[in-house]
Amino acid sequence: MMLSRTADHLYWMSRYLERAENLARLLDVSFSLALLPQSKNGARSEISAPLVITEMLEEYNRKHDELTPEKLLDFVALDRSNPASIVSCIRQARENAHAVRGKITAEMWENINATWIEAREYAAKGIDNVGAFFDWVKERSHLFRGVTYGTILRGDAYSFIRLGTFIERADNTARLLDVKAHLLQSDEAASASDYYAWSALLKALSAYEAYLEIYRDAVTARQVTEMLILSPRLPRSLRACLEAICKILAQLEGDNGRLAQRDAAALLAELKFASVDEILDEGLHDYLAECLIDINGLGDRIYQAYLKAA
């Protein structure tokens, strides 16, 4: 049992941090793809992909009149006036932690506060090594998760923190996969650049090693899709996220959560019994769009059941 508002802050603290991490992953994959030799148009679509899938394109166009990698990096990573940038996400994660600092361990607080202090310095000074910056974001997120895992009491606080992580991660994995969905629609035979694109996606999701272990095969769109959506063993797959969510919801005290549990279970059942061929027949992009709506709906149920203060 805990204050609804406290649960809300804990949930958003971890959602924002997970979002910052996934934004870094997303930029990482886009930047490495943009380095591949290809047509000029292709490069531009790689670069704009992060804006499209995070729904920041309109805001970007309001501020900038041309799309360059430098401006995009600044806007998505560092721009403090862009509420969806990595630095803004870290700021909001830290703000939420600040509001409940008594409910997290001192080490968790010091960790996330230090992350914010360093993020502020990045925002002030700029990024000179893109790769090192992405690694830094991921590392800070890993560290916070590690400190959380290693120090916090197992109870509702821990549950809401993890709930935020998995809801956000499910959403982000679906969006990241969507970056590549359009490649499938262009009915071409697997070209070398496709191969690199899917490999880059796997690497951005830290899933390359897992892929090799599961499939022991060259990287193909079908298998990547299958793993990222349906694998119960890959910690960033949609199915793994939903399994975690169902387990956490079942542990929460009180009986407010019936509807949230029902929706989560339905979503999980769908993933459990789906096949990748069905998904590809339906069209990956459409399938993922559906998933995003469902995940969003589940988030709303959780809000209604536990987090609403008034």
Binding site: M1, M2, L3, S4, R5, T6, A7, R91, R94, E95, H98, A99, V100, R101, G102, K103, A106, W109, E110, N113, A114, W116, I117, R120, D156, F160, L252, E253, G254, N256, Y306, L307, A309, A310
Partner: protein, 475 residues
């Protein structure tokens, strides 16, 4: 050997006597200090700053930009009090807080002290801090001020004087605790060489005090904060965590059938004791300021019905008001039939014609304060003010004499402090925290504040003051 700038001749220094001999209770500390290289000391000071930033022990300057959070400067030379001196101070504090609680009970019930003519009734009853809603309300054990922060200074006669009794929502105790933690982290060897009385158990004493403030069995205690943009938010969160109770905001609570509940993930839960860090006027929009979103509608009704306890009680401000301050020694005599152990600073009340003419004739030497002012604002320090400032204050006093009191300019004692030029004397005070529950408890020491500007007498953190660890040496 580090050079320590000698204190001014007319000032009492906590470390150095007038012949510059080291006072015995600083002997060991100074021996240690002289074994440390300047580099080591400066390194430790930087370490302290870094740690405070990381831990986020900042106080927010109002506004929502995080960059505005800053540190209260921390000085690594402690204020040290010998055991016997602390015992005298402690006895005086217990006596004073007991009298103030008796006074609050009295003025919200029969008003014996007013009938006896010791304090003019209109000064109490017409005081802006007097809450008529509290008349006839019976509180468990008659305690109004559960937590008091009494500001004590030492004058150049070597005696301690009470400058202010803070009975509303006194803050600063978290700095006392964090300063001690920091000193132990930076200089563990110092604590091996001194028997410093511990303060770390304050949160558990506070929780005991709050639990005893109600007759309810196994009460649910919460800390009520205005929210994380409040300048003292760190302290609210810190105390809630240390006590293991919920930190709530007004919107987390609601009142039904004159009972207070909080909204939780598992439904509603009744609250029995609220350690509120929200001022009276913002507690209940139905009873006080209707524009307040920090409070809980209906809270006053629940409180008056006896279904929830507020700590401190509503309406304690009338007893720490500067216009009532001059009467505290009389309260001690009246309620306890004892002679006051702690001195009051002599105070002229400008509402009295004779006092007023004395004040106006001596503005150059006096400190003039607004009766409802706090935090070092709205005051004139005669010896440090310009002619123009004095002239302006003179007009303000004449326009509204009852709004002002005046006191002699006290020579606050100094304590050697690290400043840019090296180690130099700076003026300090001490705020011990007095907990009134089943019994009165005080952790040894308190928050030592220091005015970092040379010659400045204003120790408030909002005006550039810093803090020190305060040590009471065990006998």
């Amino acid at each position: 050997m580090h050079r320590i700038e000698p204190p001014a001749a007319s000032i009492y220094d906590e470390m150095l006597a007038s012949d510059l001999a080291v006072r015995p209770h600083y002997d060991e500390f100074l021996r240690w200090l002289n074994q440390q290289s300047a580099e080591t000391l400066s390194q430790r000071r930087q370490e302290a700053e870094l740690l405070f930033h990381r831990v986020g022990i900042t106080f927010a300057v109002y506004g929502d930009d995080n960059d505005a959070e800053r540190l209260i400067p921390f000085d690594t030379i402690p204020r040290i009090l010998p055991a016997d001196e602390w015992q005298r101070l402690e006895a005086g504090l217990r006596q004073r807080v007991a009298a103030l609680n008796a006074f609050l009970h009295d003025i919200y019930h029969d008003g014996h002290i007013l009938k006896a003519g010791l304090i003019p009734a209109e000064q109490v009853l017409a005081n802006a801090q007097y809450q008529t809603a509290m008349r006839g309300v019976n509180l468990p054990h008659g305690i109004y001020s559960h937590i008091s922060g009494v500001d004590v200074i030492r004058h150049n006669d070597g005696d301690c004087y009470v400058l202010e009794d803070n009975l509303r929502v006194p803050s600063g105790v978290s700095y006392m605790l964090e300063n001690r933690k920091m000193m132990m982290r930076l200089f563990p060897e110092l604590f091996a060489r001194h028997a410093v009385a511990p303060v770390e158990h304050y949160p558990s004493l506070l929780l005991d005090t709050l639990r005893h403030a109600t007759f309810a069995d196994n009460p649910t205690v919460v800390v009520l904060t205005p929210g994380h943009y409040n300048s003292a938010y760190f302290e609210h969160a810190f105390l809630a965590q240390q006590m293991g109770v919920e930190l709530v905001e007004g919107r987390d609570l609601f009142v039904r059938n004159d009972r207070v509940f909080m909204r939780t993930t598992a439904g509603h839960k009744q609250v029995d004791v609220i350690y509120r860090r929200v001022d009276d006027n913002f507690l209940d929009p139905l009873a006080f300021r209707s524009d307040s979103s920090l409070g809980v509608p209906g809270l006053l009704a629940a409180y008056r019905a006896g279904n929830v306890i507020l700590a401190n009680a509503i309406g304690t401000g009338v007893a720490d008001d500067k216009s009532i301050y001059p009467y505290v020694p009389d309260m001690v005599r009246f309620y306890l039939d004892e002679e006051p152990l702690l001195k009051n600073v002599p105070t002229w009340q400008c509402r009295k014609p004779a006092d007023l003419s004395h004040v106006l004739a001596n503005l150059d030497d006096l400190v003039v304060k607004e009766v409802h002012g706090a935090g070092g604002y709205g005051m004139l320090i005669g010896p440090k003010a310009s002619r123009a400032e004095i002239a302006e204050f003179r007009c303000r006093i004449i326009a509204d004499p009852a709004n002002y009191i005046a006191q002699p300019t006290l020579a606050l004692s100094t304590c050697p402090t690290f400043v840019e030029e090296g180690i130099a004397p700076r003026h300090i005070d001490l705020r011990p925290f007095v907990l009134a529950g089943k019994e009165v408890k005080i952790v040894p020491g308190g928050l030592a504040r220091v005015a970092l500007q040379r010659g400045s007498l204003v120790v408030n953190s909002s005006q550039g003051g810093g803090t020190k660890d305060a040590w009471v040496l065990e006998a």
